[in-house]
Symmetry: C2
Subunit: 341 residues, 2 copies
């Protein structure tokens, strides 16, 4: 089999054609980078021996533009995104799949950079990419690369986390500052005329969540506020649980460069996407312990208690502003930025 030209080569239609060219791409790029026993078997599925327990199963497609940004790229984002969806129910992630949809003409060097980034994120998380699929579409029918990652994990015995379990009186915790990923992508996409120096917060949260559920199994739910940001995600949870929420603006961490970009463009950081943050809701008695535990880890060092769950048949999420007023955090029609993840 000839060598793939990872320096000057381009994606060709044949790379998705089920013959030698596709086998070459898989063996010389994907299987080499993701290197594990399941991919080495070369079957169309992976067979995994998992510990006993409920299976968590999640899937996320990624179409972020641009493909590369400070703090990550579509590859690391795709790994973190699905790991985090698994982690939010308390599961320990065990394996990921990857489905590439490549556009004809895409540089193999860029693809290799993305694949290496996925491999690194997978190694750091200690969760292998065990199966996958590659399709190629004609020039102008895609946009470089789209990546689906799906994943499986095992939920420890005795846990039952779900977005419909928030109860009035519960505390709402947030693991760190909001808006970093959204503001990062925004500054990359627009010509803002200044170097905003904002990095995406994209990271894997499963080690943090495993520590949380081990110490505080009474947790009601966790969710990562990705597209739609903190505000839309809290509205989702309020609706699922049939409750209201009262937040304290002063308690919600926003880093200064994100605040500055938002002020410049008239955006609200509470509606911008995050890719390495989580919301946790727990009974008030456990909140101080949970907060300490989150702050003790790097992924949660800026964690804060940002509000409480209220009894509200209208399921309003409200924000007490720094000036003492109360503002409705409405559920918007959409994230302000398309293709944020």
């Amino acid at each position: 089999m000839s060598r793939l030209d990872l320096t000057n080569g381009k994606v060709e239609m044949a790379h998705g054609g089920g013959g030698r060219a596709m086998a070459q791409l898989i063996s010389q790029l994907f299987a080499r980078a993701f290197d594990n026993e399941w991919l080495a078997q070369g079957n169309d599925q992976a067979q995994l021996s998992l510990p006993a327990g409920r299976l968590a199963f999640a899937s996320d497609s990624h179409v972020v533009s641009p493909l590369f940004f400070p703090g990550g790229d579509i590859g690391s984002l795709a790994v973190h995104g699905t790991l985090n969806d698994l982690a939010m129910c308390g599961a320990r992630p065990h394996a990921l799949s990857v489905g590439f949809i490549l556009e004809e003409g895409f540089a193999l060097a860029e693809l290799a950079r993305i694949v290496e980034s996925m491999a690194q994120a997978s190694r750091e998380a200690n969760v292998p990419i065990v199966t996958g699929d590659t399709k190629v579409v004609e020039r102008g029918k895609g946009d470089g690369v789209f990546i689906n990652t799906s994943g499986v994990g095992i939920v420890p015995e005795g846990l039952d986390l779900s977005g419909d379990r928030a109860r009035p009186g519960d505390c709402i915790l947030l693991s760190g500052s909001v808006g970093d990923h959204g503001a990062c992508i925004l500054t990359q996409r627009e010509s803002l005329g200044f170097a905003a120096d904002i990095r995406s917060d994209s990271c894997a949260l499963h080690r943090l969540t495993q520590a949380m559920v081990a110490q505080v199994p009474q947790l009601r739910c966790m969710r990562d506020p990705t597209r739609g940001g903190l505000a839309n995600t809290l509205n989702e949870l309020a609706q699922q649980s049939g409750v209201g929420m009262q937040l304290e603006e002063a308690a919600i961490p926003v880093i200064q460069p994100v605040q500055a970009v938002c002020e410049l463009l008239g955006l609200d950081p509470l509606y911008l996407a995050n890719e390495g943050k989580l919301i946790a809701i727990c009974p008030p008695e456990q909140a101080p312990m949970l907060l300490d535990l989150m702050r003790a880890r790097p992924e949660g060092q800026a964690a804060a208690i940002i509000g409480t769950v209220t009894a509200d048949p209208q399921q309003f999420v409200q924000l007490r502003t720094r000036f003492g007023g109360n503002r409705l955090l409405d559920w918007l029609n959409s994230e302000p930025l398309p293709r944020i993840c």
Copy 2:
């Protein structure tokens, strides 16, 4: 929440934006059609109670063009494709995920038709679609709709099917005629000037495979010859197992309209994609029983023993032609048709 206009509406960027518009699409279209307890929970992952056993995990993205064709559409194809990847290791499929990548401006009526087709395929297979994700890309950055399906299943105790297990002397069985899907897509795409009336063979094979592994647990491997067709798939298996193969052309079923289209266009049906066929390799003693069992089911009624595994360090797949000669079935660079699945 307002009503989605499924008659005249179009996909908008907001439908992938993580706010009300996306929630509307999920609740009024996806969750309604796929209707099950996991989607109804509204979490970012599904939690499944599965029987004990090894987990099979597979993923496939689908970019077929055109989206609708005789015998199916991208929706049913996406369900069958992943079910079949799970089935090929003998697993019983338990759940699927779906990731949509939609192009802005795509008609919601067409999306609804595809979703209903997925729902029907999922019901017929008795495998629910339990979790998913929706992204939207700008007009001209996609092609209507791309669909990733991933799936999980459980492998019955004692089975060990893998493409590296074929041994010299083994029999090679095929479940039915080859080239139907490829020829169907081809006739839809080209203006052939005659009504070829070829339907895709897209169908779910997991009931057939479960019957096969229950009766013949000695099975070495199964694989569905999708992209690249029978010839490329057998070459893959020969390489994985380090063996050769000797096929009998006269034993390989090809329906007359497929043969006619292939002759007209100078194509070989052995290289055309199939979406409802499988190759099975087993020790010779079990072959007659396996063949009877396959023929007793509708998915396998045209099953045949098409050849034997040989000892060949060059790993050649050879075909004894109807005229008595021997022809090398080479591993081609690519499927002749792009975007076949």
